[in-house]
């Protein structure tokens, strides 16, 4: 059988970057072809070229034996390509049916024919086992279902080739399993699938063929049956990766952070954190695992003073600090690496020097009374740039011009530059290069060894497993399990992250340190009366 898609010598340059360099591959019908590579390896660029969003500088694309030029997504769609983007391309405020038919509407006269559209969608979702409600608003659907809407969008347009860009990034392990079933069903009905990921395990699990990209080049292919994870990792990164962070035994001290029956609502007014309790001890890393959107962000915001809790209490070093201003918390010894460095962590238009004093600018020596002291601010920045290996042309460079990893190092450097008792690290290595990840991980462990209590929130299970001394699993606003890291397994945590608590392997074992807060109703029975505020 001829390949449905053949890509020959694709090259794409951006100013200063060679995103794709002579990339070639083929795709057979009924095949799952996985592309493995780090962030920035050129996977997304390649897929955007296939989908007509970028034009290649060199090279050719052959679909069903015919050389084609794809100038727009419309061209790609008409050639039978469909793409499920990492960030969903959905309109949250309109219905599933409207989302699916957008751009290729079914009409009766001048008006939209929603009934026929719904029927088409129901038929499609039955054929491939997708189960989506055509008349629901997309914003009301869980992430996994939204992703299936994306798949139906492609199928509705008659796609034979489906590109899935990091599809499991936002899913629970169980949702990912469901997705894999859908992918297998699509393959069995003759669709060709390109599956992009940087996760070794799932690629080995579902791919028929693996192509590894590094720095815009194809560095090799592998057979998922025979290649080991270590081999794939080496191909992907180009050197032996230290998958484990060197760290010794934790020596937990007294309680630095104590959260009791904390309840927080999110921006839309729904309950995000539900009567949650936890404690962080000096000299340990408590890792909070969980799929994104289970209240982790709101929990962190409530602890750090960025969002007010509606009931419950937060104590820092034994002092009541519920709903206290962030500045007071910082001055009491809290550090915070926020989950979104662009939204919270830095001002991209400010220089590195200014970002390094973003929360301390008013203190001596950075300010003398009302007046800023440029010399002290610059000295501080020069020292931290040196110490944290921030790669920058100068301390005057606007932070926005640095790479993601270096930006994150600026944030980390600033937080670590104060004496800390408690460090809240939310997604501290999201979207940055391996070198910076290693550096930041080491920094966090060093903080722990110096006696700081660390609360680590991460969606990356590997990060949690590498850093945490104790692991709490957060699901729907509650901590549903708390266990020592040594007892944790990927599989067990995966199930817990999906809300499955009645398993043998990770039964929470309460003792003096590793207590469990079960989601049972009597957990809050002998609690101090939480003030009732209507939600």
């Amino acid at each position: 059988m001829p390949p449905v898609l053949e890509v020959r010598n694709i090259t794409k340059r951006f100013p200063g970057v060679l995103a794709n360099d002579q990339v070639s591959f083929t795709l057979e019908p009924g095949e799952i072809h996985a592309f493995l590579g780090e962030n920035g390896a050129g996977k997304s660029t390649l897929m955007n070229i296939l989908y007509g969003l970028y034009q290649p500088d060199e090279g050719e694309i052959i679909i069903n034996g015919e050389q084609v030029a794809l100038h727009s997504p419309l061209d790609a769609i008409s050639r039978g390509l469909g793409m499920v983007h990492q960030h969903f391309m959905l309109i949250p405020t309109v219905t599933v049916a409207e989302n699916v038919m957008l751009g290729k509407e079914i009409t009766r006269g001048p008006l939209l024919d929603r009934a026929t559209a719904s029927k088409r969608i129901r038929d499609l979702s039955e054929q491939y086992g997708l189960a989506i409600p055509p008349d629901a608003l997309v914003e009301d659907l869980p992430v996994g279902v939204q992703q299936r809407v994306e798949i139906v969008k492609a199928l509705y347009r008659g796609a034979d080739i489906l590109i899935l860009d990091e599809p499991t990034a936002v899913l629970t392990p169980q949702e990912a399993e469901d997705l894999f079933k859908v992918i297998f069903s699509l393959r069995d009905q003759g669709k060709a699938i390109i599956f992009i990921s940087h996760k070794l395990k799932e690629v080995r699990r579902i791919a028929d063929r693996i192509t590894v990209l590094r720095r815009g080049r194809v560095v090799g292919s592998a057979d998922p049956q025979t290649a080991t994870e270590a081999q794939l990792a080496t191909m992907m990164v180009g050197r032996e990766v230290v998958l484990k962070v060197e760290k010794g035994q934790a020596h937990p001290g007294q309680v630095v952070l104590s959260v009791q029956y904390l309840t927080v609502i999110d921006d839309r007014g729904t309950l995000a954190v539900d009567q949650l309790s936890l404690e962080v001890f000096a000299g340990e890393v408590l890792g909070i695992a969980g799929v994104q959107g289970n209240g982790q962000s709101e929990l962190v915001e409530a602890i750090t003073g960025l969002r007010s809790a509606i009931s419950g209490s937060v104590r820092l070093l034994g002092k009541e600090v519920t709903n206290t201003a962030s500045r007071v918390l910082y001055e009491a010894g809290m550090g915070h690496i926020p989950e979104d460095r662009h939204r919270h962590g830095m001002v991209t238009s400010y220089s590195i020097a200014d970002n390094m004093v973003l929360s301390t600018y008013y203190n001596d020596p950075f300010a003398k009374g009302w007046v800023l002291n440029s010399a002290a601010i610059n000295t501080n920045a020069a020292t931290l740039v040196e110490k944290f290996d921030v790669r920058t042309p100068s301390i005057e460079t606007p932070a926005g011009k640095l790479s993601g990893g270096n930006q994150q190092k600026v944030v980390v450097a600033r937080e670590f530059s104060r004496p800390l008792k408690l460090l809240i690290a939310a997604q501290p290595t999201r979207g940055i290069d391996v070198g910076s990840i290693e550096f930041i991980h080491k920094g966090i462990v060093r903080q722990r060894d110096e006696g700081t209590g660390v609360l680590l929130v991460s969606a990356e299970l590997d990060e949690i497993l590498a850093l945490a001394d104790r692991i709490a699993v957060m699901f729907k606003g509650k901590i549903i399990a708390m266990l020592p890291a040594v007892q944790a397994t990927r599989e067990g945590l995966g199930l817990l992250m999906a809300g499955v608590t009645n398993q043998q392997s990770v039964t929470p074992a309460p003792d003096d340190l590793d207590f469990a807060i079960a989601a049972s109703p009597d957990a809050g029975a002998n609690a101090p009366e939480p003030p009732q505020a209507p939600v």
């Binding site: 008013y362 440029s374 005057e396």
Partner: protein, 371 residues
């Protein structure tokens, strides 16, 4: 880790290449607008040369003309600074008009109602009261924006209309000078008058000096103090400001109060330096012109000095232009609008004159209804 040439300037150093490019665009914008203005003059059949020489000599031909230009420029300087302070905090203050009116009426009341004080107390007092009047009027939209999310653009415009009605009521009602035929407030006392700088035959008053000093002060405040750091952080990234423990509400109110106070001073110096009283038909279009001045200066406080003088020159020279060529004074408004079209969209100028892009992009930014 060597210093790269094209980074934004630090607090201390001046990057002359950047200064050159940031001045080049406004100058070319003015040039292009005047060129189009010439086209309009030509189309209406008037004499372009006569119009523009009239405009120039009306603005700068002799000490009297220059004095009048600077008098015209003074309120624009204050009001332009007002808008610039708002921009720094990410707020778009279209309400200079109303704040100016409130400042004018407050200063007028302080000028005629408080008696028996020597100049060195009465004059500063009247200025401060004028500034407070404007600050109060500016603080309201700042507070509403911070607490309720009501967008300051619409609220400040509504506050303009309310201020105009309110001053109209006050001038025609409780504050009216019963001895004057036209509705106006009583004249301010001599002890509250701003001294004339060039003697009685010229109108140039000390308000101009205060405006220039204020520009340097605001520049220092915004760039070298913790207050400026806070306002700038809130303006550039409110999320980061919250994270850094900087209160958004406080800085929104503070920035809008400062902005209002500056606009109030524009009104106060006009009453205390030029008009000596407040008439019913007092303010005309300062609100929008102040935005134009701030944009022309790219919201840089020092840049506002030449920008305001240019604006004052256009206004002051317009009379002679009309006299010499018969073209309507309103042509000036079109030229002014074109200038800010080109300043607001520098890419147009870059396109026309093939200027390369420099490091700094948008000097000012505002936010939509959402956040």
């Amino acid at each position: 880790m060597s210093r790269a040439p094209a980074t934004t300037p630090s607090r201390a150093a001046i990057d002359w290449r950047n200064v050159f490019f940031s001045v080049l665009v406004p100058i070319l914008a003015i040039f292009t607008a005047l060129l189009i203005g010439a086209g309009i003059i030509w189309a209406t059949g008037a004499n372009v040369a006569a119009a523009y020489t009239g405009l120039f000599s009306g603005a700068f031909g002799g000490v009297q003309a220059i004095s009048n230009t600077l008098v015209e420029a003074t309120p624009f300087m204050f009001a332009g600074l007002a808008v610039a302070v708002g921009f720094k905090c990410g707020l778009f203050n279209i309400g200079a008009e109303g704040q100016l009116a409130m400042g004018a009426i407050s200063a007028a009341v302080a000028g005629f109602a408080i008696t028996g004080l020597p100049t060195f107390i009465h004059l500063p007092l009247a200025l401060v009261i004028g500034a407070l009047g404007g600050a109060f009027w500016g603080a309201i939209p700042g507070f509403l924006r911070a607490r309720t999310g009501a967008h300051e653009v619409i609220v400040t415009i509504m506050m303009n209309y309310i201020a105009i009605r309110l001053t109209d009521y006050l001038i025609k009602g409780p504050l009216r000078d019963r001895n004057a035929s036209a509705p106006r407030t009583p004249n301010i006392l001599e002890s509250a008058q701003l001294p004339l700088l060039l003697g009685p035959e010229y109108r140039l008053h000390a308000g101009f000096l205060i405006a220039v000093i204020m520009a340097f002060f605001i520049n220092w405040l915004l760039n070298r103090t913790t207050t400026g750091f806070e306002i700038g952080t809130v303006g550039a990234n409110p999320g980061a400001a919250r994270y850094a423990g900087i209160s958004i509400t406080r800085n929104f109110v503070l920035a809008m109060s400062m902005s209002g106070a500056l606009a109030g001073l524009a009104g106060a110096v006009t009453v205390l330096g030029v008009e000596r009283n407040l008439k019913a038909s007092f303010s005309a279009g300062y609100g929008f012109d102040s935005i134009a001045v701030a944009l022309l200066a790219k919201s840089n406080p020092i840049g506002i000095i030449p920008a305001a003088i240019f604006w004052g020159a256009l206004r002051n020279g317009a009379g002679l232009m009309q006299l010499q060529s018969g073209i309507s004074i309103n042509l000036i408004n079109i030229i002014q609008a074109l200038v800010i079209v080109f300043v607001a969209a520098p890419d147009i100028i870059r396109l026309i004159y093939r200027i390369p892009k420099t490091g700094d992009q948008q000097a000012v930014f505002t936010r939509g209804w959402g956040s």
